[in-house]
Every structure is written in structure tokens, then in C-alpha cells.
Amino acid sequence: MAADGIIERVNGILMDGFEIEPSLLKDDAKLGEDLGLDSLDAVDLIVAIEKGFGCRINETEARAMRTLHDIYTGVRKCIDANAGSPS
């Protein structure tokens, strides 16, 4: 999947599921300070992303995600790992 596709789908999850204004969805937006997501929202977001992209983000990577850019990168890795693993 292209980078643009990932960004579009992650942003879609944030707008539809978390009611976040599109204008806030910038690459360097911080999940807590800028988007107002608390720790439960962050778990919720990871679960929604895992469902949406059909892959699993590991705990260490999830904990390290601070910005939207981190999320996009994490999803990219998650998709690549999934594609590389035996079905």
C-alpha cells in the first residue's frame, strides 16, 4: 500500500471514530497534546488500526508512538511485516 493510502485511512479512522477535526491531522501532531487522545484512546486507536489494516502492532512500538508520523510509520512496518510473514 502506498504511503498516501496509509495516511488517508489512518486519518479516516481518526476523523470517523475519534471525531478529530481534519485540520488537526498534521504529520507532527502529538497524539496527546494536539489530538487530545488519552491512554485508553491510544489503545483504542491501535486496535482500530490493527482491525483496519489486518496486522498486529507490537507493544513496544505502540508505546513509542507519540505523533501521527509515528502512527503512519508503525502501520507501514506492520503491513510490511505482515506481507513478509508466511500466511
Binding site: 488519552d38 485508553l40 489503545v43 491501535i46 507493544e59
Partner: protein, 316 residues
């Protein structure tokens, strides 16, 4: 007339309990040493003057104890109330001492009657882990000991606000414990650790009656509005892990009863529907908690102002 406290959701974090226990590391060391080296019955005896001291000098704890005991029908004259608070403190002390011995590695003299462990086993078979929601009732920490029998890793979610020397002391006492601790540290890390443990099919035990860094819901409890954490129920709804309400009550010297209720499924990915599902889940938890503490009225241990003060509002 003061306005009655309203029921509803509250996204503020609950700060009524500061996470620290009394006694300090020296007091804890004395009791732990006596309980382990000399004997639990001697340690129980030593609790009596300590409980008496608390009744006389620990005004906040006494007030909280009386406030709770009155709601479970243990009010009465000044003397009766003082006596009941004394018994309440003694029960609490005995549970803490039992915990030291059981989790410290010597459970052989204790008997555990088990009601409903099959509910946990059946919930585990779903492969999504199990979220146990418990309360500060009886020997709640002994649930982890009982759960060793299901042969699945157990994770207990706990506060780390205890004084560092007290925490270090109990870390040494409990170094052989059979469960892992997920520490609530004010970050999102514990939520991810809980999610990961459930994804591995493990058991995660959380308290449903004390909000530490979690949004709360104000709902009737023993007849009056009180604040309960939404976090455990939210995690169940997000992850899809089955929830089992579990309580461990002290039924006598060296005897406990473990009770687990049938599993519940809260799985709900739609956030707009989740509000109602979580509220209903908290209501069911409160019903089970009330049922339990009416059976064991001296065994609910939250010695702070649990019921929301009147006028403290910002509810929907």
C-alpha cells in the same frame, strides 16, 4: 437544601486517594517479620492495639470507615460505631498479614473455597485473555494465588504511588510472587501492557472500585452516588476480552472464599455505542460488589471519602 450529586460520566481523574498506605517501612517490617518468623496469630494479636490507635487518632480513616459501615447497616450509637470501625481495621490488618504469608510463599496452612473458577477457565478458552475486575474486598491480592491453578500467566494492575522505601520493602517480601505487576505510572504504557497481555491470552486483574488515573462514572452504590473507574470496562470493550468479576473474602482464620461471576462480553468497536455498554457494565459490577460486601460487611477496604461530596458536580 444542597443539590444531590448527579450520576453520570466524569472525565476528570479521581484524586481522592493518594495511593500511599500508612505505617511506613519500619512498621511494615515489624509486622511482616512477626507474621513470617513467629506466627500469624501473634501478629493478629498485635493488630489490636494498632487498630485501637487508629480508632483514636486516624480521624480520616475512622470517618471513612463509619461512612461506609453506616451504609451497610452497621451504624448505631457512638460506641457501636467505634467498635465496628475497630473491627473493620482489625479485619483489614488480618488480610494484609495473610497476604504477606500467602504471597510471600507459604500458603500451605490456608484453605481456599472456590466458587466459579470454571467461569475463568471457560473465558480463557476464547483465546482473548481474561480481564478480571475485582475490588478492595477481603484478600483481593490472594486471587492471583488462587489463579495459579489455571496455569496461565496472571498480571495484576497496581498503583506505584506508594512511598519508594515501602514499595522496595514489599518487592523484597514478594519476590517469589506468582504474578506479574503492571504499574500504573500515569503514562499510556500500562494500557498497552494490558492490551498486549490480553492479546497473549493471559489474565489481567484490575480494581473496579478505585480510579487511579482513569475517567470515572458516578453511579449509585449502597444508595448514594459514588465514582467508579471506567478504565477497566473500557479496556474490555476495546479489546474484546471477556470480563469476570471476582472477589476473595476472608471467612475465618486461614480460610478464604474465592468467587467468580459468569463471564461477560463487552466487545464493541463503535465508540458511540460504547458509552452505554460501559455504563451498564459498571452497574453490573456494582451490583456484584454490593452483593459481596453485604455478605462480608467488614471487608471492604477503601479508607477515604469514597462517596462523592455533594455539590461536586460536572456531570452529563
Amino acid at each position: 437544601m444542597k443539590p444531590a450529586a448527579a450520576c453520570g460520566r466524569d472525565d476528570r481523574r479521581d484524586a481522592r486517594w493518594d495511593g500511599r498506605s500508612r505505617g511506613g517501612s519500619v512498621g511494615n517490617w515489624i509486622f511482616v517479620t512477626i507474621a513470617r518468623k513467629i506466627g500469624l496469630r501473634i501478629a493478629y494479636l498485635l493488630l489490636l492495639p494498632v487498630a485501637f490507635y487508629y480508632v483514636i487518632f486516624a480521624a480520616k480513616a475512622v470517618k471513612a470507615s463509619r461512612s461506609y459501615l453506616w451504609r451497610v447497616g452497621l451504624g448505631g450509637s457512638w460506641l457501636q460505631r467505634a467498635r465496628n470501625s475497630f473491627r473493620h481495621f482489625v479485619q483489614f490488618g488480618k488480610v494484609l498479614l495473610d497476604r504477606v504469608v500467602v504471597i510471600g510463599g507459604d500458603a500451605s496452612r490456608f484453605e481456599f473455597a472456590l466458587d466459579g473458577t470454571e467461569h475463568i477457565e471457560s473465558a480463557l478458552r476464547e483465546g482473548r485473555g481474561v480481564l478480571i475486575i475485582s475490588a478492595h474486598v477481603g484478600g483481593w491480592e490472594l486471587a492471583a494465588h488462587v489463579l495459579q491453578r489455571v496455569n496461565v500467566p496472571v498480571n495484576v494492575v497496581a498503583s506505584t504511588d506508594e512511598a519508594p522505601q515501602v514499595r522496595a520493602f514489599f518487592d523484597r517480601v514478594f519476590r517469589d510472587r506468582s504474578f506479574s505487576v503492571i504499574s500504573l505510572d500515569g503514562t499510556s504504557a500500562p494500557s498497552f501492557a494490558i492490551m498486549a497481555a490480553l492479546a497473549r491470552g493471559e489474565i489481567v486483574a484490575m480494581h473496579g472500585d478505585r480510579a487511579i488515573g482513569s475517567p470515572t462514572e458516578t453511579l449509585p452504590f449502597l444508595g448514594e452516588p459514588a465514582r467508579f473507574p471506567r478504565g477497566p470496562h473500557m479496556l474490555a470493550a476495546i479489546t474484546g476480552a471477556p470480563v469476570v468479576h471476582t472477589f476473595v473474602a476472608r471467612e475465618g482464620e486461614f480460610r478464604y472464599r474465592f468467587r467468580a461471576y459468569p463471564p461477560e462480553k463487552l466487545a464493541c468497536l463503535r465508540r458511540d455505542e460504547r458509552e452505554r455498554i460501559v455504563t451498564d457494565s459498571i452497574r453490573r459490577f456494582i451490583a456484584h460488589l454490593e452483593e459481596t460486601i453485604r455478605m462480608y460487611p467488614l471487608q471492604w477496604f477503601n479508607f477515604y471519602d469514597f462517596w462523592q461530596p455533594e455539590g461536586d458536580s460536572r456531570h452529563v
